[in-house]
C-alpha cells in the first residue's frame, strides 16, 4: 500500500506495521484546506487590484491540500518513524547527544522571549539584552575569554567568524598571513571554514598517542601561519597533553589559537581554553549546553575571544550601558561586521542560559566528570571486544575500531552500527575521525546511566561475538531488520537524484 493516499491509515506507524508513509502530496485533495485566519475587517481588494498584471502570479503555488486531521496524522506517523534522544541512548561521537531538559522548551516558548521582534529598539527589549549579557559573562567564565558574539548560528559559522576575526587582527597588525594549521583528525567543518576564511589549510598528522605530532607542527610553523585550529580533547576523545607547548610555539610565530568548542563538554570546570592558551573559542551550545539538535539544527555557535580581539567581534553587541541604566547595542571599534541577519539564534541562547543556571559552577563540573566517567567505563569494558587504536584514558568519548572484525569476518563498522539499531540503540559515529580505520566513535554523555551503559556494552559484545559465528557476517550485513525500513540504496539516491516529489519518475 506504499504511496496510498489514506490520511487516516496508520500502517506506516511502526506500532501498526512496516509500510511507508505517503507524502503529503499524495494525501492532498484539491479543495481541502485547514488554514484559519483572523477576521480583520480589512477591505477585500482582489489580487488584480493589488498587484500589477506583469508581476501577478496566474495560479497559486501548488502545495498540498489536506485537512488538519490528515496533517496531524501524517506528521504524527512521521514522528513515530524517527529515533530521538527521548526514545533512547544516542551515543553518537562528537555530537554530545545528552538529554535536553524540558524546562528549556518552556523557556524558549515564553511569549516575552519568543514574540519579540528583532528590530524592536533596545529600550523595549531590555530583558533580552540582559539575558544576552548574562550569558556572555557565563560563557566567558567557562572559556576564560573576555567577550563573545552570539551571531554565529552554529559551530561552523562560529569557526568562520573566528577565522575572520583572526584575519582582521592580523590585518590590523599590517600582516597578511596565508595559512591555518589543522590536525588530520579535525572535523570537516574546520578545513571548510579555513577555505572560506581565505586561508590555505596546512594539515599536521597525529602522533601514535593520538595527539598533534609536535615535530610536524614545528616544521610547518612560520610567520605565514595565521593560526591553528584545535579541539581539545580532540576528536579522538584524547586530551592534547602538549597544549601548552603547542600554544607556545604558535604564539611564537605570531599565530593565534582557535578552539573548536565541540568537545567542551569534557572539560567544563576542569580547564578553560583561555588557560590553555587559546585566543578564540567557539562553543556549540547545541552540544555542551543541551539545546536539542532538532534533527540537524538549530544550534548556536557563539565565539568568545581574548581581550585583544574583542574589538574585532561582529556587531552590534549587547552591552551594559555606561551609565548603569540597563543595556544597549554597541558596535565594536574594529568589528568585522555582521555574520547573521539579526542577533543569532536567540531562543537557543535563552535555553543555554537556563541550562547553565540550573547547573551552576558545581553542576557543570559534574557534567564533565560524569561524561568522562561514562566514556572511560565503556572504553574499559569494550577494550577486549573492539580494537582500541589509542589505549589511553579518554575524555568524554572513546574511539574504538572494527578493523579486526572486518579483517577476520568481513563485518565493518557500518554493520556494527546497523546491528546496534536492532539492539535498541542509536549507532555511534562511524568512519570518523578519518585517521582511524573502521572507527566507532562512542560518546555516551553524562545523562546515560550505568544501567544503560551496561546494556549498550552488552549489545556491542553480542554483536562482536555473533560476527565470529557461523552466518554472523551475513546477519550483520542484513541488519537492521527490526526498523521500519532496511538498509537503503544510497548510491541510487545520488545517481538518480530525486530531491523533490516533482522529480519522482511517476510524477513526471
Amino acid at each position: 500500500m506504499s504511496g496510498a493516499a489514506a490520511g487516516g491509515m496508520a500502517r506506516s506507524a511502526p506500532l501498526m506495521g512496516r509500510d511507508t508513509e505517503p507524502t503529503i502530496f499524495e494525501l492532498s485533495e484539491p479543495g481541502r484546506r485547514c488554514w484559519q485566519l483572523r477576521t480583520t475587517g480589512v477591505p477585500a481588494w482582489s489580487a488584480e487590484e493589488l498587484v500589477p498584471a506583469e508581476h501577478r502570479r496566474t495560479r497559486p503555488v501548488p502545495l498540498a491540500e489536506v485537512s488538519e486531521r490528515d496533517l496531524v496524522g501524517h506528521m504524527t506517523r512521521l514522528s513515530h518513524r524517527q529515533f530521538s534522544v527521548d526514545l533512547g541512548a544516542y551515543p553518537l561521537g562528537s555530537c554530545t547527544m545528552k538529554y535536553n531538559p524540558k524546562v528549556c522548551d518552556e523557556v524558549a516558548s515564553l511569549p516575552g522571549l519568543a514574540d519579540v521582534h528583532p528590530a524592536a529598539p533596545a529600550s523595549m527589549t531590555q530583558g533580552w539584552l540582559a539575558l544576552l549579557v548574562e550569558l556572555e559573562e557565563a560563557l566567558c567564565a567557562v572559556t576564560g575569554m573576555a567577550g563573545a558574539t552570539f551571531q554565529p548560528a552554529a559551530g561552523a559559522a562560529g569557526e568562520l567568524t573566528g577565522l575572520l576575526v583572526m584575519r582582521a587582527y592580523h590585518g590590523a597588525n599590517g600582516e597578511e598571513r596565508r595559512r591555518v594549521v589543522i590536525p588530520d583528525s579535525a572535523h570537516g567543518t574546520n578545513p571548510a571554514s579555513v577555505s572560506l576564511g581565505g586561508y590555505e589549510v596546512t594539515t599536521v598528522p597525529s602522533d601514535d598517542r593520538g595527539c598533534v605530532d609536535m615535530a610536524a607542527l614545528r616544521a610547518v610553523l612560520d610567520r605565514d601561519v595565521a593560526g591553528i585550529m584545535l579541539t581539545n580533547p580532540n576528536t579522538l576523545g584524547l586530551f592534547e597533553e602538549g597544549i601548552e607547548e603547542i600554544a607556545g610555539c604558535v604564539h611564537d610565530v605570531g599565530g593565534l589559537l582557535y578552539y573548536d568548542g565541540a568537545n567542551l563538554n569534557a572539560i567544563l570546570g576542569v580547564v578553560r581554553p583561555g588557560d590553555m592558551g587559546f585566543d578564540i573559542v567557539h562553543l556549540n551550545l547545541h552540544k555542551t549546553f543541551a539545546t536539542p539538535h532538532g534533527g540537524g539544527g538549530p544550534g548556536a555557535g557563539p565565539v568568545a575571544v581574548s581581550s585583544q580581539l574583542v574589538d574585532f567581534l561582529p556587531g552590534p553587541r549587547p552591552v551594559r550601558r555606561a551609565d548603569g541604566q540597563g543595556y544597549e547595542w554597541l558596535w565594536p571599534a574594529r568589528s568585522i561586521g555582521r555574520v547573521h541577519s539579526w542577533h543569532g539564534n536567540a531562543l537557543v541562547l535563552a535555553r543555554a542560559l537556563a541550562y547553565i543556571r540550573v547547573h551552576g559552577a558545581d553542576g557543570l563540573l559534574r557534567v564533565a566528570e560524569r561524561a568522562v566517567l561514562n566514556a572511560n567505563w565503556l572504553r574499559t569494558r569494550l577494550s577486549g571486544t573492539f580494537d582500541v587504536p589509542f589505549d589511553r584514558p579518554c575524555m568524554h568519548e572513546v574511539v574504538l575500531a572494527a578493523a579486526t572484525l572486518r579483517r577476520k569476518y568481513g563485518v565493518r563498522a557500518l554493520d556494527v552500527a546497523k546491528r546496534l539499531l536492532e539492539e535498541g540503540f542509536h549507532a555511534p559515529t562511524v568512519y570518523f575521525p578519518l585517521v582511524v580505520d573502521e572507527a566507532l566513535m562512542i560518546e555516551p554523555t553524562e545523562t546515560e546511566s550505568l544501567q544503560t551503559l551496561e546494556a549498550l556494552a552488552g549489545a556491542f559484545e553480542r554483536i562482536a561475538a555473533e560476527a565470529s559465528r557461523e552466518g554472523g557476517a551475513a546477519a550483520a550485513h542484513a541488519a537492521p531488520r527490526t526498523t521500519p525500513v532496511g538498509r537503503l540504496d544510497e548510491a541510487r539516491a545520488a545517481r538518480h537524484l530525486v530531491a523533490t516529489f516533482d522529480a519522482r519518475p511517476s510524477s513526471a
Binding site: 511507508t20 485547514c34 522571549l113 521582534h117 570537516g188 584514558p393 539516491a493 537524484l497 522529480a503
Partner: protein, 458 residues
C-alpha cells in the same frame, strides 16, 4: 544539588573501582596540573529549575516590545502560527533527533525535509531546494559563493535593494572569500542597473531582491537581462510570502533563489533561530551548499529517504566542500513543512493577499496625514511600505510604542544613520519601514494610523 545526571554515589564508586581510579579527579590526569582550574568556575552554584524559570520569566517580562501590536517587518514577520503547527513541529522525536545519519531510524525527519524541499522548490519555481541554511543572510552568502564558483568570477553586483543586514553579512564574509562587491543603487525604490561596464567590472553574479527590502516589486526580468549580458548567474532574494501573489523568481529566470523562511511557522524569536531558504537549478546542484534529502529504496524496495550528494559536504570534501555548513536549521524546515501543509495552496495565496490588502489599507489610511509620506512614490508593493516621517523615525517608534504599537523599523537601524546606496542620509533618519501581515485587523491599523499621526505632529 539538582541536575539531570543519573549517577548515584554508589555507582560512581563502582565505576571508579572498575577503572582502577581513586576519585573523579583522576579522570583528568591527562590535563596538565598547571592548567587545571583552581577553585572552580566563576559562576553561581546551580539553582533548581523553578528558580531559574522564574528568573528567565522575569527577563521576558522586561521586554516591553512583546506587548506591542506589531507593524515591524524588515525580514521578520508576525504571521499566524496555529496551535497545530506548534504541536506537531514540537514533537520530541523531531526536536531531540540529530542529523539523520542512520536513515533506517530517521525516516521521520528525512521525509519531512523531503516534503519541505518540494514545497520550497515549488514556491521558488526551481527544481531543487536544500534542507535549510541558517537564515536569509546566510543563504545569500552561500548563493554568491555558488555563483562565483560556477562562473569563476568574484565580481558581484548587488542591488542596494537587498536587506542592509544581508549586504553587511555579504561584505563580512567577502573578506574571507575575496569576493569583490559592487553595490548597485536604487532610484525611487528600484534598482537602476548600470548600462555599460568597465573591463574589471564584469560580474559573475548579479543579486536582486523580489520585492526588495523597501517592499518594492523589482523588475527581475531586467536583472536577468543584465546577468545574461555578462554571462553571470542571477541570484534572487525573494520574500516567500509575497511569492504567494507574485510570479515565481524561477519563472523570471533566477539561477538561485534565497529567502528567509521564518515566515513559515517560526515565531519572531528576537531574530533566531530562523530559516535560510535556498533553491537552485539542476545545473548547479553539485555546488549546492548544505544538506539535501533524496528519495531512494531500501533492500526490500520500499520507498525511503536519505541525505544525498554528500560528496559536496564538509565532512567528506573538507576544505573543498561547497560550504562549511554542518548543523543547520532542520527543525525550522520541518516547521515550515508543517506550516505550508497547514496553509496549503489556498492558504498561502490567502495570506499573501491579506498582507497586500492590509498594506493597501494602511497606505490609503495614511493618505490624509500630514507628516507621513510614502518614501518610494507609487512603486507597487505587496506587504512592506517605506514611509518618510516628519520627525526622526526612531522618535516615532518610541512615541508610537506608548500607544501600544511597534511602529515599524527605523531605516537608520537597518542602513545606518548615514544611509547607504539604498537611501540617502535624510531618508535614513526619517525613513520608517512598516509591514502589515494578515494578522493585523482594520481596528489595529486605524489605531496605528492615529498613533502615527499623533507622533509626527508633536
Amino acid at each position: 544539588m539538582a541536575d539531570y545526571l543519573p549517577h548515584t554515589s554508589e555507582e560512581i564508586a563502582t565505576m571508579l573501582a572498575f577503572l582502577g581510579l581513586d576519585d573523579l579527579d583522576d579522570l583528568f590526569s591527562s590535563v596538565p596540573a598547571a592548567l587545571r582550574l583552581a577553585g572552580g568556575l566563576d559562576l553561581a552554584p546551580g539553582e533548581p529549575e523553578p528558580d531559574v524559570f522564574a528568573h528567565v520569566a522575569e527577563l521576558a517580562r522586561a521586554n516591553a516590545a512583546r506587548e506591542l501590536v506589531c507593524f515591524a517587518g524588515a525580514g521578520a514577520y508576525d504571521h499566524e502560527v496555529p496551535p497545530v503547527v506548534r504541536a506537531l513541529a514540537g514533537r520530541s522525536e523531531f526536536v531531540t533527533a540529530y542529523t539523520p545519519y542512520q536513515p533506517e531510524v530517521a525516516q521521520g525527519v528525512l521525509q519531512a525535509v523531503f516534503e519541505y524541499q518540494t514545497m520550497v522548490a515549488r514556491l521558488a519555481g526551481l527544481p531543487v531546494a536544500n534542507a535549510s541554511l541558517y537564515d536569509g543572510a546566510g543563504a545569500l552568502v552561500e548563493a554568491v559563493n555558488l555563483g562565483v564558483g560556477a562562473t569563476g568570477r568574484q565580481r558581484v553586483w548587488v542591488s542596494a535593494g537587498i536587506h542592509p543586514h544581508w549586504r553587511r553579512c555579504l561584505a563580512t564574509f567577502s573578506e574571507g572569500s575575496g569576493h569583490d562587491l559592487r553595490m548597485v543603487p536604487l532610484e525611487e525604490g528600484r534598482t537602476v542597473w548600470p548600462d555599460d561596464t568597465a573591463a574589471g567590472d564584469v560580474p559573475g553574479v548579479v543579486v536582486v531582491g523580489y520585492p526588495n527590502y523597501l517592499g518594492c516589486i523589482e523588475d527581475v526580468a531586467a536583472a536577468r537581462r543584465v546577468a545574461d549580458a555578462h554571462g553571470a548567474l542571477l541570484v534572487v532574494a525573494a520574500d516567500p510570502v509575497a511569492a504567494g501573489l507574485l510570479r515565481s523568481a524561477g519563472e523570471w529566470g533566477a539561477d538561485v533563489v534565497v529567502g528567509e523562511g521564518q515566515v513559515f511557522g517560526t515565531s519572531l524569536s528576537f531574530g533566531g533561530p530562523y530559516l535560510g531558504l535556498f533553491c537552485c537549478t539542476l545545473e548547479q546542484v553539485r555546488r549546492l551548499p548544505g544538506r539535501l534529502v533524496g528519495e531512494t529504496v531500501d533492500v526490500e524496495g520500499r520507498r525511503a529517504y536519505v541525505t544525498t550528494l554528500r560528496a559536496r559536504e564538509q565532512d567528506i570534501r573538507r576544505e573543498k566542500a561547497t560550504s562549511n555548513v554542518c548543523t543547520n536549521q532542520t527543525l525550522m524546515a520541518v516547521t515550515a513543512a508543517v506550516q505550508l501543509g497547514w496553509l496549503g495552496t489556498s492558504g498561502l495565496a490567502e495570506v499573501a493577499l491579506r498582507c497586500a490588502r492590509g498594506t493597501r489599507y494602511l497606505r490609503e489610511s495614511l493618505g490624509g496625514l500630514d507628516g507621513v509620506v510614502p518614501l518610494t512614490g507609487d512603486v507597487p508593493v505587496v506587504r512592506e511600505l517605506a514611509l518618510r516621517t516628519a520627525v526622526p523615525a526612531r522618535t516615532v517608534v518610541e512615541r508610537v510604542a506608548t500607544e501600544g504599537f511597534l511602529a515599524g523599523v527605523a531605516l537608520a537601524d537597518l542602513a545606518g544613520e548615514e544611509g547607504d546606496g539604498s537611501i540617502g542620509p535624510d531618508d535614513a533618519v526619517h525613513g520608517l519601514l512598516v509591514s502589515v501581515t494578515e494578522r493585523r485587523t482594520r481596528a489595529e491599523i486605524d489605531g496605528y494610523v492615529a498613533a502615527l499621526d499623533k507622533a509626527v505632529r508633536s
